[in-house]
Each structure stands twice: as structure tokens, then as C-alpha cells.
């Protein structure tokens, strides 16, 4: 376990040693800040049925920033080690492959969670200035951030898999961007299929990140997406582990 923590801390520090972390942090702060500003000023102008917190987590801005950050966070994970050759000292040290894979995944997850910390401040500032809560209940915060965690794990595990498949960071980023975007739009197909009773429509609805976020940000905790995202994350990490091990046979 100690080796896992050693690897994990190296991963997390690795993010803050590289400019990409700061670029992602700043980009994300700007987009989420704009998002929050627009939602609040929009609600200032007319009467709406939802809260600031719901609006924030369900806007176009939010999803735009959301889909973009994952390739940036995960592209370097394995690809960089392969490229620089540092995979050699790493895997000839007495560490297990799963320790390496999990430390990279949780390192990325840790960085991803750091990205979200400033958003807590938005709601606090709003509550202080507007003298009203940003959400209708504490459960709505919990639901939104739980969904963020689940979606984060899901998309980061896809990013891990694409990074382990290549030694080129750009290729890893492009593949994971395509995969994540495709999965994201899969959930949008249900809005195109106009046949209201179609089973395909319902089926695709199960994959809709937008719909899940809508539910969770109202404070409704549905177990189905939880199972879905956790299980796909496990599958993706297993595949990553297998792909990582396969380097021995491909070399």
C-alpha cells in the first residue's frame, strides 16, 4: 500500500510540475466562471423554475468545458512514460502493474476533483450576496457532486485506456476526445428520435449524461447511473491493466 501512495503522490505532483495542469485549471476556471455569471444574470432577467445550482450544472457551457478537460488530464498518463522511456525504471522497480495503473487513475481523479473545488466557492459567494441559498436543498449539492465524481471516474478511465495504447500524447488525446464525445452524444440521440415510445430511445436515455446530471442535480439519487458508471469504470480500468501488461508481449 505504501508503494501505491508513493506512486500516487508522484502522479499528483507530476500534474503540478507540468504547465498543462495550470492551463487546464485556468481554462476551467474561466469557463465555469462565465457559466456561473451567465446563469445568474439570465435568472436576474426573468422568472425561472430552477435554482442557480441546477442551472450551473446543466448548461451548455458546463458540458463544453466538461468534455474537453478529460483528454487534457489523461493524455500524458502512460503515453509520456512510454515516450520518455521512464516506464523502464518504473516497471523494473519492485512494484505491481495494478499499482501503477491505479495510481495513475486516482492521481488523475484527484486532479479532476481539485478542478471542482472553486465551484463550491461560487455557491457560497452567491448565498452571501443574494441572501438566498443557491440550491433548494443540501441533497442537490450532494447529487451534483456525486454525479461529477461518477462521470469523472467514467471518462477518466476511458482516458487512461487511450493513453496506455499509444506513446504519442496527441493521439491519446484525440482518441479519448472522440470516444468521450461520442459517448456523450449517444445520450443526445434520444432528443432526435421523435417517436416517443421507442425502446431505442429509452435505451439510449440510460446512457445520457445530461439526463443523469439533470436528475442528480435536483437531488434525486438514482442507483442505475451509479451502477452504470462504476461498472464501466471498472471494465475500462481492467482493460487498461491488460493493455499495460501486454506491453511485455508487444515489445
Amino acid at each position: 500500500m505504501r508503494k501505491f501512495y508513493t506512486l500516487l503522490s508522484r502522479e499528483v505532483r507530476g500534474y503540478f510540475h507540468s504547465p498543462i495542469a495550470y492551463i487546464v485549471l485556468i481554462f476551467f476556471l474561466i469557463v465555469s466562471g462565465i457559466d456561473f455569471y451567465f446563469q445568474v444574470s439570465f435568472m436576474n432577467q426573468r422568472q425561472v423554475q430552477y435554482t442557480v445550482q441546477e442551472a450551473f450544472f446543466n448548461s451548455v457551457f458546463f458540458w463544453f468545458a466538461f468534455v474537453l478537460i478529460f483528454p487534457l488530464i489523461t493524455m500524458r498518463l502512460f503515453a509520456e512514460e512510454f515516450k520518455l522511456g521512464t516506464i523502464e525504471p518504473l516497471t523494473t522497480a519492485p512494484v505491481r502493474d495494478w499499482q501503477v495503473v491505479l495510481s495513475k487513475f486516482f492521481g488523475a481523479l484527484f486532479f479532476y476533483l481539485i478542478l471542482w473545488i472553486p465551484t463550491l466557492l461560487y455557491f457560497w459567494i452567491f448565498a452571501r450576496i443574494a441572501n438566498q441559498p443557491a440550491a433548494h436543498s443540501a441533497g442537490a449539492y450532494f447529487g451534483s457532486y456525486l454525479m461529477l465524481l461518477l462521470l469523472g471516474m467514467f471518462y477518466l478511465s476511458i482516458g487512461c485506456l487511450t493513453s496506455v495504447l499509444t506513446r504519442n500524447q496527441i493521439i491519446a488525446a484525440v482518441i479519448s476526445f472522440c470516444a468521450i464525445t461520442l459517448l456523450f452524444f449517444l445520450g443526445l440521440v434520444q432528443f432526435i428520435l421523435l417517436d416517443v415510445t421507442s425502446t431505442t430511445r429509452d435505451l439510449l436515455g440510460y446512457f445520457s449524461a445530461i439526463e443523469h446530471m439533470g436528475t442528480f442535480s435536483r437531488g434525486v439519487i438514482d442507483t442505475r447511473p451509479i451502477v452504470l458508471y462504476l461498472s464501466i469504470t471498472v471494465v475500462m480500468l481492467t482493460l487498461t491493466y491488460q493493455a499495460f501488461q501486454s506491453r511485455k508481449w508487444r515489445l
Binding site: 505504501r2 508503494k3 508513493t6 508522484r10 510540475h17 521512464t86 523502464e88 525504471p89 519492485p94 511485455k248
Partner: protein, 311 residues
Amino acid sequence: MIKVENLTKRYAGQPAIQDLSFEVSRGEIMGFLGPNGAGKTTTMRILAGFMPPSSGRATVAGYDVFEQSLQARAHLGYMPENVPLYSDMRVTEYLNYRAALKGVQHRRITERVGDVEELCGLKDVKKKLIGTLSKGYRQRVGLADALLAEPDLLILDEPTIGLDPNQIRQVRELIKNLGKHHTILLSTHILPEVEMTCSRVIIIHKGRIEACDTPDNLLGKIRQAGGVVLEAKVGKDNAAEELKKISGVRDVVTDGEDEWKRFSLRVESGADVREEVFRLAADRQWAVRELTQRRATLEDVFVELTHPDQI
């Protein structure tokens, strides 16, 4: 310490090493010698547990490098070729990280890192970013890393490549000293290095072991154990023919465009023909400016084994 049996590795069907078998016992410094692409790095990577062999078996400290990879890796310190390092870390930070990764006890890490920094001459640069270090210092960081966990066995892939002559001398001294407590397998293509540091040498060529012996025995075995070089002004005499008549001389090669000619005499092993050559030269009144016996070096052994046609 190392036991290798019929080790073979193929890359996409092309054999990189074929049927290697050798043993390295505790306390030995084994030199691994061969031209580029001979399979040195492949063999070392297999021993270090970086990749599995296609067939055959290798054990390190009694542990199979593939079946019991973790235990085997815990017993060795490996310095890969070109020393890949995280350029965004500082030297001490990196060594601390590696020590923890190698399972050095938490309270001993600072002490061990201090020790290896001292040993490898890294004290001056310990706070520097690895990315800003020169090749020589990177090389030393790699060596320090290999030494961290006080492993029984050190596997060093080209430890002196890219160093300047002073640094090479330092590293060579370091390796010699390390050999008192560690078993070392090192690869190189710098021959004097092997002659000076290694107790045994494996010469590998095209993935096969061509020779495996002590440096002295290898020199003894070589077909032409040295020879005699004569540089003289011989005028119009057919000196080469006359030199060849001396008993013990097998062959004479003549060089030199101007009146000074250089004759390289290949002699039968053990024979010293310098006296006869001197008498002949005195007799014919040749002006001599050099007459030396050339000792065979490992370079000769190496060239003979890896390029037999060039002799």
C-alpha cells in the same frame, strides 16, 4: 546470483538473442561485451524483469525473473541504457521517490539517499531539476538510483556511455569499489573498461555468446597473441621476405608510403622474435626507429570474435 539457461528473445520473429546460457556468481564483476545490436540490452532487460524471454529461463538471486518477477526485481538495481528520468523532479526528490518505491524503510530513506548522493558525487546538484543536468550527472543519478536499495546485484547498461574521460575514470573506480560488496553485470563497448574492472567477460555477437572467460584467459586463447612491430628504413631490400624467414614469424604486413616502412609481424604464440629481428636489421644496416612487441588486447579478441574476416 544470475543463472541464465537457453534464453531466447525474438522481436516479431527476428531473434535478438539466441540460446544464451551463463552464470554469474556472487561477488563477480561480469562484463558484457558486444557490438551494437548484439543483444546486450535485450538480455539485461529480461534479467531486470522489463520484458519476458520468448523461451528459456533466467533466475536472479534464485528467483525466476518472470514467474517471481517482484522478488527478483527486489534483489537487483538496474540502470537502463540512456537513463530515462523524470525531468520535472529534483535530484533528491527523485531519489526519495525511488527509495520509497523500492521499499527502503521510511526512516532510512534520508540516510540512504544522502549516502548514494555522496558516493556518486551528486551533492552539488541535489537540489537541481533533473531536466537541467548534463549527461554525466544524469548518468550518475541513474547509478545512484540503482544503488539505493543496497541490492545484491547491479545490472548496469552502458554506465559510462556519454561521459568525458575524467568521468569515465571516476565511474570505473566507483564500479570497482562497488564490486567489493555487490555482484555486477555491466555492458559496455569500451574495451579497456572491461579489462580494468571485470573479473569475467562475456562476448556476445549477433545474439549468441562467442566467448565467456576471464580477460586473461581470453587473451591467451586468441589465435595471434600479439606480434612485433618494426619501423625501419630498408632501402631497396625486400625486407618483408627476409623477415618472414625468421623462425616463429607467420606473416608480415607492410605499411608506409615513404622510405620509412612499417612491418607488422604476426608471430606464433609465445614466441619473441625481437632479437632475431634486431640482428637481421643490424646485419642489413637498416635504420630502425621502432621495434616493439605488441601485446594482444581485448580489442583483438573482440574483433577476432565479432569480425573474424577482418584479421
